[in-house]
């Protein structure tokens, strides 16, 4: 629950303009202004909670963990895609601060956007380990050195907050573009030394809506709150895709093996 600004130390007031849209009654989205008292440690999420608890209970937005790990509260804050829980009101004083739903997604209600399309993209890239070699539970874990882990670890840190999609001009133009987040997840598995399904996933990379749709603007990595660097994932896939294309003519395997510099093999 948000701290009670009345009880805190230095309280100031900021105007937050929130985009409102209720499909049952509103013809179009409109900004609604609220005066919100805040202390220096209050996040934008806590500001929205203050509005909902004290000023207007009908404001709808997603949130849960409050600590930038569940990925629920992505929204446009001052026209930038950000996590509301990790963005602070003090940085926008005296306002007005505009808070809108994530760009490039259909609005369902107020700050809530449709997420089904994004989830489908994730589901489409075989987002699970397809082991190179089978191993029974009795045989224990697959070995993987810290260096091998480091090759994909960053990509495994994606919290699915979709900020990168809101920042991606290409996704804005073409909603079918697989996009930065799903591409990072694809690379998370393709880069995993235990996985053996790179070829299957590379087929997706080659398609019209795959890596080549990316125009290398790099906004995705700039807005990523977890330093996942999806632009790098897309880039790595472009390199591989090009290499695949070249190797095709030489009759070599069509995908990248985990052979390069595997001196770190356990």
């Amino acid at each position: 629950m948000p701290p009670d600004p009345a009880a805190g130390a230095a309280t100031r007031e900021i105007v937050i303009e929130v985009l409102r849209y209720r499909s049952e009654t509103d013809l179009k989205p409109l900004l609604q202004a609220f005066r919100v008292p805040f202390t220096d440690d209050m996040s934008v999420l806590q500001g929205l909670q203050y509005i909902k608890d004290h000023l207007d209970g009908s404001l709808s937005f997603r949130w849960s963990c409050r600590m930038a790990i569940c990925g629920s509260c992505g929204m446009m804050i001052g026209a930038q895609p950000k996590l509301a829980c990790m963005t602070f009101l003090r940085d926008y004083y005296p306002g007005p601060l505009t808070v809108e739903p994530l760009a490039h997604f259909p609005i369902e209600r107020d700050l809530v956007v449709t997420v089904g399309g994004f989830v489908k993209k994730i589901e489409s890239i075989y987002p699970y380990l397809i082991p190179k070699t089978q191993r029974s539970l009795d045989e224990g874990e697959y070995l993987q050195t810290p260096l091998q882990l480091a090759r994909y670890e960053t990509f495994s840190d994606c919290i699915n907050c979709m900020l990168c999609y809101a920042a991606c001009p290409q996704f804005g133009e073409n909603p079918d573009f697989i996009g930065p987040g799903a591409m990072a997840l694809l690379q998370r598995y393709n880069g995993d030394s235990r996985d053996g399904a790179q070829a299957m996933r590379m087929d997706l990379v080659h398609t019209d809506n795959g890596a080549w749709s990316c125009t290398a603007v790099g906004n995705c990595s700039e807005v990523c709150p977890k330093q996942v660097d999806p632009a790098n994932a897309v880039n790595q896939n472009k390199t591989k895709s090009a290499l695949d294309f070249f190797l095709r003519f030489l009759g070599r395997p069509l995908y990248w093996e985990h052979t390069a510099s595997d001196g770190d093999k356990p």
Binding site: S64, I69, C70, L137, P146, L149
Partner: protein, 597 residues
């Protein structure tokens, strides 16, 4: 009303729910599984678990040690047959997660690494940096996509269970995007909805942790067991309650008071050196460390901040490079939320509510007394945590008992048939009418947020780290009064599409019932044990009267009926709960005695 028919309905798609879904799908590919969650699965609160997950792997470790640490940590209120099953299956669950891709942190030789954790004699906590729950949850979610028989209902809110012919036969849910009700008829229902920490004020929990499944089972006559045992995690951010993992201390972090003194040595956990040392000082159990904070605060040894008294979690000696490798999220939280770099400054921390040890009564097979109903994870009381859970046992629990629930429910579902849909639908329509009454009711005056805040303050006052009869009684009265006022709610939002005020009001109803079960269970336990500590004449453990589980049974017109049931003790009779030097002395004496014999 829209009707969906499934063999198994699972409510909650966090660690336990996803593990159950996969286990059921693997048990019988022909079964249809409805996996229902009020949020996208990766938003579930498993995501916020940081430190790690227990499973014996080292040569000098043993299942017997994991067993005795768990039973002693739980102050002998654990069902020992269940603990035995649990410790024997933790490691294979961790290996299973590894086979599914979980990015466990590794040793240079490629094997998984383990870290020290509170109350654990030997290092057995598997970890993925300090985002273990996040990685487990995403691994399970992504793996679940492989199974076509798992049909997800993302962002569907569960309103009630359907109980017909004395069996649980489905659930009624609201599609949040439309506000439409859906009846999901099922031969077996698994509840995996997590804990209820949000009934308290300062807590580490996400907003969704509102005890939904506990309350639904409770309404249908299933007892909630051992609800008075609420875990205060000792190292949380003042104000927000955000968590700084026990892994900080597992990696060597220390706790100091305003004088820079490692005060835990004054509370039966010392001496401070050598450090780090398992089952001593900062690696003591959570209940003891939170209790020590309480005493330091009263002695005036804590540090005042705008959000209350704090002590220092000091990680500076670990150095920037180790901090970045092992505790990157902790560094990020400290930086963003407190403006602190833990490599150069200590982190101010204080205890916050973290975990509900109690929950829906289930047996070793995860079956509740209501046929057709199963429960796993934090919402359940399987019997492994007793009066105080050890850190890193709950993530393992999601795997071990999530799998058990999926397997057991699958086998149960193949042997029963559901009642005619029309019968179930009539029941569902009653539930729909009742839930809709919240948004159509006229003339109400109470704002849900006001009642929610009063509940949370009252629970913090009555069921804190230390408890007094008079304060618990006051909380009982407040909760009863809030339940009255709840009948008089006024919502600003009368719409159906994404009406989160409405869903919040339903959650508040769940929370008030769970809060009432907690405080009445607490006031009736006239002893001190684990996380339930009293200061009003019941300061010691009383095995003669209270080596028993509390059972709270719902009564529609008043406070719960409180009963007791025996604790299953197989091989570890209640003994002294000792840590630090005292534990070392006892162990040495036991060794000498066994050599002499």
């Amino acid at each position: 009303m829209k009707v969906v028919q499934a063999d198994i309905a699972i409510v909650g798609a966090g660690g336990a729910g996803l593990r159950a879904a996969i286990a059921a799908a693997e048990a019988d590919a022909a079964l249809t599984i409805a996996l229902i969650s009020k949020v996208l699965p990766m938003r579930s609160h498993t995501v916020a678990a940081e430190g790690g997950s227990a499973g014996v792997v080292q040569g000098h470790d043993s299942l017997a040690d994991h067993f005795s640490d768990t039973v002693m940590g739980g102050d002998w209120l654990c069902d020992q047959n269940v603990v035995d099953y649990f410790v024997a299956h933790c490691t294979e669950e961790m290996v299973q997660l590894e086979h599914w891709g979980c990015p466990w942190s590794r040793k240079p030789d490629g094997h998984i690494d383990v870290r020290a954790f509170g109350g654990m004699k030997i290092e057995r906590t598997w970890y993925a940096a300090d985002k273990t729950g996040f990685h487990i949850l995403h691994t399970l979610f992504q793996t679940s996509i492989k199974y076509p028989s798992i049909q997800r209902f993302d962002e569907y809110f569960c309103v009630d269970l359907i109980v017909e012919d004395g069996r649980c036969q489905g659930v009624i849910v609201i599609e949040i995007a439309t506000g439409e009700f859906v009846l999901i008829a099922a031969k077996a229902v698994i509840i995996a909805t997590g804990g209820a920490g949000r009934v308290f004020l300062q807590n580490t929990n996400g907003g969704i942790v509102t005890g939904d499944g506990m309350a639904m089972a409770y309404h249908h006559g299933v007892p909630l067991r051992d609800m008075e045992f609420v875990q205060y995690h000792p190292t949380c951010m003042p104000g927000t309650g955000l968590l700084f993992t026990e892994g900080c201390r597992g990696e060597g972090g220390i706790l100091t008071n305003k004088n820079g003194y490692r005060y835990l040595q004054d509370y039966g956990l010392g001496p401070p050196d050598p450090w780090p040392r398992n089952k001593a000082m900062e690696l003591g159990p959570r209940d003891r460390i939170s209790q020590a904070f309480w005493h330091e605060e009263r002695k005036g040894h804590t540090i005042s901040t705008p959000h209350g008294e704090t002590v220092n979690l000091d990680l500076r000696h670990l150095g920037a490079s180790k901090l970045n490798e092992r505790l990157p999220q902790i560094c990020e939280l400290a930086k963003h939320f407190l403006g602190i770099d833990p490599a150069h400054q200590p982190i101010p921390v204080r205890p916050g509510v973290h975990y509900t040890m109690g929950g829906i009564l289930v047996n070793l097979e995860t079956a509740a007394p209501l046929p057709g109903l199963f429960a796993a994870g934090e919402c359940a009381s399987a019997g492994i945590h007793g009066a105080n859970r050890l850190g890193s046992n709950s993530l393992s629990e999601l795997g071990v008992f999530g799998k058990m629930a999926g397997t057991t429910a699958a086998s149960y579902a193949t042997g029963v048939v559901t009642a005619p849909i029309a019968t179930l639908e009539r029941q569902a329509q009653d539930v729909e009418r009742c839930a809709l009454s919240l948004i159509v009711a006229e003339g109400g005056r109470e704002r849900p947020a006001v009642l929610r805040d009063e509940m949370a303050r009252s629970m913090e006052g009555g069921c804190g780290i230390y408890r007094l009869g008079a304060e618990m009684l006051a909380a009982c009265d407040t909760i009863a009064n809030l339940k009255e006022r709840y009948r008089n709610l006024r919502l600003d939002d009368r719409s159906r599409v994404w009406n989160t005020e409405w869903l919040g009001a339903i959650e508040l109803g769940y929370q008030l019932d769970v809060a009432e079960a907690i405080v009445h269970s607490a006031i009736n336990r006239r002893e001190s044990r684990g996380a339930h500590q009293r200061l009003d004449g019941f300061e010691t453990r009383d095995d003669a009267s209270f080596l028993q589980h509390t059972l709270a049974r719902y009564r529609p017109d008043g406070p719960p009926q409180i009963d007791y049931s025996p604790v299953i003790i197989t091989r570890s009779p209640p003994g002294k709960r000792a840590y630090g030097a005292e534990a070392e002395r006892i162990e040495k004496a036991a060794k000498e005695a066994s050599h002499a014999a």
